[in-house]
């Protein structure tokens, strides 16, 4: 187990380093330059040159990269070009917001879709099964900017039940913030429900047909014990892996949702930093999502190993 952990960690660091190089390289290909992005297209070339010099973006690329990475590994992500303030607090606040939105969506979608998937499997072939599968599939294929707008129009504009903005007003407290996150998390729930429910259904159907389940039933165990101790434990293993891989999307891939619901998450932060060629903010943003994603998949792997002795012992050999 510890060898697995070490191997995974080493791989994660290598991945993050390659990511930082790729993002830096890609950032250079983007048109324009940071000072031009700040001062706008109509600013004088002299003013742009002065600002680029002040920001240090007129230095050779390797110098810029080295300057940034050497500070980053010491815990200093540098100063944002556009905001002329340390990038750290921007990243921390945006990442915190994204984690909160992701957590709210997770807390709603995971129990809901697991229940839906297992319920469908237990009624396989019947109307309930077909309804859950069909609804899940339909919801998954609707892009979140479409479902987001429909949800805003219905619950925010017409019924006025829920606030449209994901950002709670000042002094609203944590409860108010959670309330403001209900509507923005709905499109995510819709996208993920069908996916996770289908995995849970497939796993459960397979586990229900497995020989160990038949043995458990034949030896007279109560139905509830069969379900919880034998079926679900095996059925949910692939589902856990799937949930783990969705974390990256939930944390860094929600640009559309964040813009639509006016929420300062890490997705929007990265997107705007890329547009402004705000390299320190862009790099730090992408790497934080990378770190969260790596951690999530690591946790999912470890959880998988913990639940599945075959993986655990295979790795320990």
């Amino acid at each position: 187990m510890s060898r697995l952990l070490f191997k995974r960690l080493a791989l994660s660091f290598a991945t993050l380093w390659i990511l930082s190089v790729l993002v830096f390289g890609a950032g250079q290909v983007l048109p324009g330059d940071p000072a031009r992005a700040i001062l706008g297209p109509l600013a004088e070339a002299r003013a742009v040159a002065v600002l680029n010099h002040q920001l240090g973006t007129d230095r050779p690329l390797l110098v810029q990269y080295w300057d940034w990475i050497s500070h980053f590994v010491r815990g200093d992500p540098g100063m944002s070009y556009a905001y002329r303030a340390p990038a750290g607090p921007f990243i921390a606040s945006a990442l915190g917001n994204s984690l909160l939105l992701g957590a709210v969506a997770f807390l709603i979608v995971v129990p809901l879709s697991l229940f839906g998937g297992v319920w469908a499997a237990l009624h396989a072939g019947r109307f309930v099964d077909r309804a859950i599968t069909l609804l899940g599939l339909s919801a998954t294929v609707i892009p979140e900017f479409v479902s987001g707008i429909v949800l805003i129009l219905v619950f925010g504009v017409w019924l006025r039940w829920l606030p449209i903005s994901a950002t709670a007003p000042r002094g609203g407290g944590f409860g108010s913030q959670l309330f403001h996150l209900i509507l923005p998390s709905m499109p995510l729930v819709l996208v993920l429900f069908g996916y996770i429910a289908r995995m849970a259904r497939a796993g459960t159907v397979e586990a229900l047909a497995a020989e160990y389940t038949r043995t458990a039933v034949l030896k007279g165990l109560p139905r509830r014990d069969v379900l919880f101790r034998h079926v679900l434990r095996n059925a949910l293993l692939p589902t856990i892996a799937v949930i783990g891989t969705q974390t990256g999307y939930l944390i860094g891939g929600l640009v559309v949702i964040e813009v639509l619901f006016r929420y300062q998450g890490i997705g929007t932060l990265i997107y705007t930093a890329a547009r402004a060629k705000d390299f320190p903010l862009l790099e730090a943003g992408v790497l934080s999502v990378g770190i969260v994603y790596t951690l999530a998949t690591l946790i999912a792997d470890l959880l998988y190993a913990a639940l599945n002795p075959r993986v655990r012992f295979g790795a320990g050999e």
Binding site: R46, A47, R84, T268, A276
Partner: protein
């Protein structure tokens, strides 16, 4: 009338030649009330005086200022604006979201009011010398910054020098180019400043007005860190600013002028227009800074929302490279311009909320525009003849490069369809704004290098900027690569001309020259749209600006 005439005669004895020319134009019927008010304000005549004279000639009217003065104070007004692109600093900020945030706490020497009339703000009056090369501004004496310090000529000079200094990365540097250099603003006394211009300029006060978006007056010792204080002299003071989220301001109790009506202003930043529109419909905000017609149509049918439609000179310029095929022949350029059905453009792109353009930056809204210049209409037969004469009667293929911004991509498609009728096949290349502007210098910018392109130009109180950088031979935004010495000379004369009659005579020549040469197609000038919750009133209809001090709920 005889009493009024006597009073007018008395006024005429006290003013200079330029002012008397203006009065002559008024009395002879050459200009109307709006033009008289507007140009009189440029010459530094006070608005009450101008109003009195105009009232004597045309009969009284209610000024927009007085109309908005009444209202219940104490409201909190929530405003949705675009996400500022970077740190808020009056020296560097360039985008609409950032610039609108300067307005609650910052003030200008004068501001462009509705109908482009200049209103005094921190300057109480101004006056040119006889040729318009030196302008003297008298400052208000009762103005204090929010930190309690008095505003003096030193602050004004420092604010302007900061922007005009090439050593600073100032966004307004381009606005001062060829007009006023650092060090040429001189203090006469604590409340009088003299500006010695590079060349005579009849509309110079506009350069120091809200037209020069960044030029709020800051304390002389301002050294950055604007976001901590939002220091200025305005009717509000900063309560809280949170980067990327929003800002709130409260009424400034020590404001020199009439206290603001709202108790608080809450600005929320939005990433795109759609989310702003939905937030307004859902009641999360009370007013939006400004929206493009495209994507805001739902607001016009919402019974809870009013949309203020403000006439503006904002437009999209279609440039044609005059120095390379296929547009090096002016007949080809004219042919493309003749394919446009401008009424259809205005109807299709804006549902009528725009005015037809005549391929020059002279919008009818500018008092100096010559209304006798014939309007270019769609004429496919003439277009075909011109192409024939230019040797491209069978048509040709050309690429149109432009930016993804407002209605421009739709405009490009309409142009493509219009041009097809005479055999011009336009291939579209619609880019992200960053890609289109590129490095914004010749050779490294699709905007400046493309053979055919469309570029957005925002509202200005006078056409000087539109006439110079995009069209003069040495213009830094001259994407048409138009080089015409006669034009350059006319523009220099126009800019120097201190009286409206003279400006209009030169404007007519410029308009005719541009129609003949057609380096640009200006199909329309669109209205600026400010949507707000029903019952919100007191926001003056000023294009590109959102002054909130008179806002209240009825």
């Amino acid at each position: 009338m005889s009493k009024d005439r006597k009073r007018l005669d008395a006024v005429r004895r006290d003013v200079g030649v330029l002012e008397n020319d203006l009065f002559d134009e008024l009395l002879s019927g050459c200009i109307g009330r709006r033009d008289f008010m507007r140009h009189g304000s440029v010459l530094g005549l006070s608005l009450p005086l101008l109003g009195g004279i105009a009232g004597a000639v045309f009969g009284p009217t209610l000024s927009p200022r007085r109309a908005m003065a009444a209202g219940t104070p104490g409201a909190t007004i929530r405003i949705g604006i675009g996400q500022p692109a970077g740190a808020i600093d009056p020296v560097t900020i360039a985008d609409n979201g950032g610039l609108v945030l300067l307005e609650p706490t910052g003030e200008f020497l004068c501001r462009t009011g509705p109908d482009l009339v200049l209103q005094p703000q921190l300057a109480e009056s101004w006056r040119p010398n006889t040729d318009g090369s030196v302008w003297t501004f008298k400052l208000r004496q009762d103005v204090t910054f929010q930190n309690g310090r008095k505003m003096t000529a030193d602050d004004v000079i420092a604010s302007i020098d900061r922007m005009a200094d090439p050593k600073n990365s100032a966004n307004a540097l381009s606005a001062f180019k060829g007009i006023l250099q650092k060090g040429n603003s001189r203090k006469i006394d604590d409340h009088t400043v003299e500006f010695h211009l590079d060349a005579p300029n009849g509309n110079f006060p506009y350069v120091l007005s809200t037209d020069n978006y960044n030029l709020v007056i800051l304390p002389a010792d301002y050294a950055g860190d604007y976001e901590k204080t939002f220091i200025g002299t305005g009717p509000f003071k900063l309560e809280k600013f949170t980067p990327k989220v929003g800002a709130s301001f409260v009424r400034n109790p020590n404001y020199w002028g009439k206290p603001a009506l709202p108790e608080r202003l809450e600005y929320s930043f939005f990433g795109d227009q759609q989310s702003q529109v939905l937030a307004l419909q859902g009641g999360d905000v009370d007013v939006l800074q400004q929206v493009a017609f495209k994507g805001a149509q739902a607001l016009f049918n919402d019974p809870n929302i009013d949309v203020m439609s403000i006439k503006s000179v904002s437009h999209q310029q279609v440039h044609m490279r005059t120095d390379m095929a296929p547009f090096q022949d002016k007949r080809v350029r004219r042919a493309l311009a003749l394919t446009l059905d401008r009424k259809k453009l205005v109807a299709g792109l804006f549902n009528g909320r725009a005015s037809i353009g005549n391929d020059t930056p002279f919008a009818a809204l500018f008092p100096s525009s010559d209304p006798t210049v014939p309007q270019r209409e769609q004429n496919l037969a003439e277009a075909k003849q011109l192409l024939e004469a230019a040797g491209v009667g069978k048509g040709f293929d050309v690429k149109l490069t432009t930016e993804r911004y407002m209605e421009i991509p739709d405009y490009a498609v309409l142009l493509q369809n219009f041009a097809k009728a005479v055999g011009i096949n336009i291939a579209l290349n619609v880019e992200d704004q960053n890609a289109y502007y590129g490095k914004a210098v010749f050779g490294q910018s699709d905007w400046l290098d493309s053979v055919l392109g469309i570029t957005d130009y925002g509202h200005r109180g006078v056409p000087n900027v539109f006439l110079s950088a995009p069209l003069t031979s040495d213009g830094t935004w001259n994407s048409a690569h138009f080089k015409n010495p006669t034009y350059d000379k006319l523009v220099a004369q126009y800019i120097a001309s201190p009286d409206l009659g003279g400006q209009r005579a030169i404007a007519g020549q410029i308009q005719r020259l541009l129609l003949d040469e057609t380096p640009l197609i200006v199909g329309y000038f669109f209205d600026e749209l400010v949507p707000m919750r029903k019952g919100l009133a007191g926001i003056p209809p000023i294009a590109n600006r959102l002054f909130m001090e008179g806002a209240h709920f009825t």
